[in-house]
Symmetry: C2
Subunit: 535 residues, 2 copies
């Protein structure tokens, strides 16, 4: 593999095409496998640097917002190329800052590159602007009908907060950044402190790509921060028009509240916690209990349980088969070798949140990895509680980020329905069942669908396919805005608003709306979808 010349970690902020370290707060990242600090020192962005980045982004917006789709596509593809050019340096830095294995680094890089190229394809083709044209009827009575033409336009400069658990795919050049740049919004990334080195390498790739493809300076900046102040200042800046965030409920809600209190409130797209309820129906347990136990032992522990789609809650109706499934799951899950968590702080939170649940009345541990694992490794744990206790205790509904799952034994279908009625909004809900028994559970399914963004039949919630039909999002508190997906090309809609031209001269219209349809995109013309020219 090759290592690009630019792939150097300076620890400084990237503000447009400059690097800058005016702040006095410094910090380092941590290698959880080696249980030591990593070498480079990072300089937290100062208030002045934040203002510089926003000011450059605001200026860049005036030209970037109307840049042709082909040029934006070239930029996005160049980012993908530059990320691949970072080669081993990126993979090694990723691993050293996360404790995740190289195979995961390679896989996540692949996903990141795929996302960038998917958005490039989307904007190069161009129909994503949802162009709609209603032509004039000058002789309509009592009043003439004007010519109206609508398309999506970018919101303005946006801020993206990197995720701790996806240093590539949902951080610096991740889904939020790719979607926002594709839409025409300059992006300022608030770098995640746990993987600031990975972040800086990717930022340098984005900046190299921007320079190579002639983007306006300020289309991208990367600001370091170990605390919450940099993010707060960014979200409160009047020139920032939207926020993307992936992380904890506490963090996401704090940003949402800040944004709501602004003189001009702005949207916050926060993808937060989820316990992803899995409902096991009786017939499935009878016929496939063993297979399901094995599958779920894997799904609960994959990536040390550090996925927002981790199955943290399994619900069933008490029976001999559920008892057997519980025993099998317990046996299978302790066979899995513990793995490293992202950071000592994440491990600490895991232990704290797990203990909170285990200390509640009538919660019993049924499986816990028996030996003491390495320093930042997590012991996978499964606990059990009755439906009655679960329903009356909202503390048991909370996410434990890590390899933990709570099994809820309901006494009957009604109690199971009540349990689902009582949980909060979720990213996903899963039904494990046989096709013939499903119709008995229509009301349960209806209740479940009110709570989630995606339902899965006979599968696992972990694994989020990147495709147009994916919804990654759901009712609060799994996300702050269930009307948008955070994964898939439809996520571009978060960064745009519709804009309408009335009686605008054809030669002054953007290409997307001109009579002759120079981009050859699909448009709604007088209520018919067509690529035709308007005469």
């Amino acid at each position: 593999m090759t290592t690009a010349a630019a792939s150097k970690i300076t620890g400084k902020n990237h503000i447009g095409y400059r690097i800058s370290a005016k702040g006095t707060i410094t910090y380092k990242t941590f290698n959880p496998e080696l249980n030591t600090d990593n070498e480079p020192t990072f300089f937290e962005a100062s208030s002045e640097e934040i203002n510089e980045a926003v000011s450059l982004a605001t200026k860049a917006f005036e030209s970037f917002k109307t840049i042709p789709g082909q040029k934006k596509a070239a930029f996005l593809n160049a980012i993908a190329d530059e990320i691949l050019n970072l080669g081993d340096t990126l993979l090694q830095t990723y691993c050293s800052e996360t404790g995740l294995p190289e195979a995961r680094a390679i896989g996540e890089r692949g996903r990141t590159v795929f996302q960038l190229r998917s958005f490039a394809e989307l904007v190069e083709e161009g129909s994503w602007v949802e162009a709609s044209i209603d032509t004039a009827i000058p002789d309509r009575t009592p009043l003439p009908k004007p010519d109206l033409r609508r398309m999506n336009v970018p919101l303005g400069p946006v801020v993206v907060f990197g995720a701790s658990n996806f240093p590539l795919a949902y951080s610096t050049a991740g889904g939020d950044t790719a979607a926002a740049l594709a839409a025409g919004c300059p992006v300022i990334v608030k770098s995640h402190p746990m993987h600031a080195g990975t972040g800086e390498l990717v930022a340098s790739a984005i900046i190299a790509a921007a320079q190579k493809t002639d983007m306006p300076e300020g289309v991208f900046s990367n600001l370091n921060s170990s605390g919450i102040e940099v993010g707060q200042q960014l979200v409160q800046h009047p020139s920032i028009k939207a926020v993307g965030f992936t992380g904890s409920l506490r963090g996401g809600r704090a940003l949402l509240d800040l944004a709501a209190k602004r003189e001009e409130p702005i949207p916050v797209f926060a993808e937060m916690g989820s316990v992803n309820p899995v409902i096991v129906l009786p017939e499935a347990l009878k016929t496939r209990g063993e297979e399901l136990a094995k599958t779920y032992a894997g799904s609960i522990t994959v990536g040390t349980g550090q996925f927002c789609t981790n199955p943290g809650l399994i619900l069933g109706i008490d029976s001999e088969e559920l008892h057997k499934f519980t025993k099998l799951l317990s046996e299978e899950i302790i066979k899995v070798n513990p793995t490293c968590m992202l950071h000592p702080a994440i491990k600490q939170a895991y232990q704290h949140n797990r203990a909170t649940i285990l200390n509640e009345d009538n919660v019993t541990v049924i499986a816990e990895y028996p030996n003491e694992p390495n320093a930042n490794y997590a012991k996978q744990t499964v606990a059990v509680v009755t439906g009655e206790d679960f329903i009356k205790n909202p503390k048991l509904h909370q996410e434990v980020f890590g390899p933990f799952s709570l099994l809820v034994k309901c006494k009957d279908k009604q109690e199971l329905e009540k349990a689902i009625f009582n949980i909060e909004g979720q990213l996903t809900g899963t039904i494990l069942g046989n096709i013939l028994e499903i119709n008995e559970y229509n009301y349960l399914l209806s209740l479940l669908s009110n709570k989630v963004g995606r339902v899965i039949f006979n599968g696992v919630p972990t694994g989020v396919e990147v495709c147009p039909s994916m919804v990654h999002g759901g009712p609060y508190p799994s996300s702050t805005d269930s009307r948008y997906s955070a994964v898939g090309t439809s996520s571009i809609k978060r960064w745009v608003r519709p804009f309408s031209y009335q009686n605008w001269p054809n030669e002054l219209l953007p290409n997307e709306l001109k009579n002759e349809n120079p981009l050859g995109i699909l448009r709604l013309v007088n209520n018919q979808l067509t690529k035709n020219t308007i005469y």
Copy 2:
């Protein structure tokens, strides 16, 4: 014209299919033309009644959310029929509660009926759910690709606040209600106290339509209120999932803040104030100054200036032609006979807000209707100020709801740009110019487009066409969510969220997503738009 048997004003709340008057607060509507109270007494909804309405709506949602498009269409068309059946009673009540002329009542009823029928057509056809299907690739490596199918689903029970200035088209059965019902959301209307009788008549039409088309009880309720408490309780109720509002910035912002502070924050679609800047360019003034002055005298005074798209701000570069235009506009506008405002409170607010602006330094009245008009009639007024004074005084940027416009004389193009840069978000922006001079103002247009939802070339902002390409909405504070239009069938998007099925059995999928496409709708299948069956 006919008068339906049901068209009786009881003054009571309509909760599902019952009428109820448990509250102790009563009020009457006011006839601004006659300057007296209207006869009926209205009973404000009690806390108990609010909970009953929400509880019925929540129960209704479980069946209404999956009702076929054809049945929803029948319901919406039946509402339109029942509104027309109200005949003269509705028109007379409308006029007696608003001071607006019968022609306006007939026109607005036509718009309301048109909107209902447009949404009926939309949901009967069915493609509005934006179905998207990615079929499985079981042998993909390293992991199989699951089958994913996405469509829009309704958010849940919603609350709609009627507008003072559109008792029919943006109130009880107006755009918000029609769009929400079309989406599958039960609606609770917080009736506007100024036209509570009109509201009750329309509510009775909706309820008659619901009964005739077998809708679940609770799909619609109408609650009376003269103060803010009923609305506050509704917005804070945990079972309410979204809010539609048309009215003042103060009212909209208060609801937005309430919704943001909920344990589960919910979207608020508030369409609020706007001054709708109109930029007159030099060449247009030279060639068409007289015509423009006449047109704008009409646009400022139409409907006593009580439109959210009223041109409250006219900006130009100081010149002899602008001086001439100012003089012509002044002469034309005082020729218009003053008309009645909606309510003494609206007249009072007009006078107060007008005075606030006129009392600021260096603001000069250049036209004001010279005689004392009838009791609740408004004197149309035009004032003038320099660009410099306008830029430095944000008070001058505020809306005066009524027949008022402020003319801003800028010393040059740069000052005009600065003025536009300094205004807040607006519903519309208008350019009056000759085609050849436009290119000199590219930067001005770019700045204007950041501030508005719709730009108009050589027209007036008043008059909002109902069609797919309309955007009625814009950056804050003209609306709370610039990502959605309040007018046109695209406004249905406000009330839905995307929902994804993974590996779901074909027979259990909703019709919209089944392989055989029984509804024959347009779907994105493996990234191709098609109506084809999936094999």
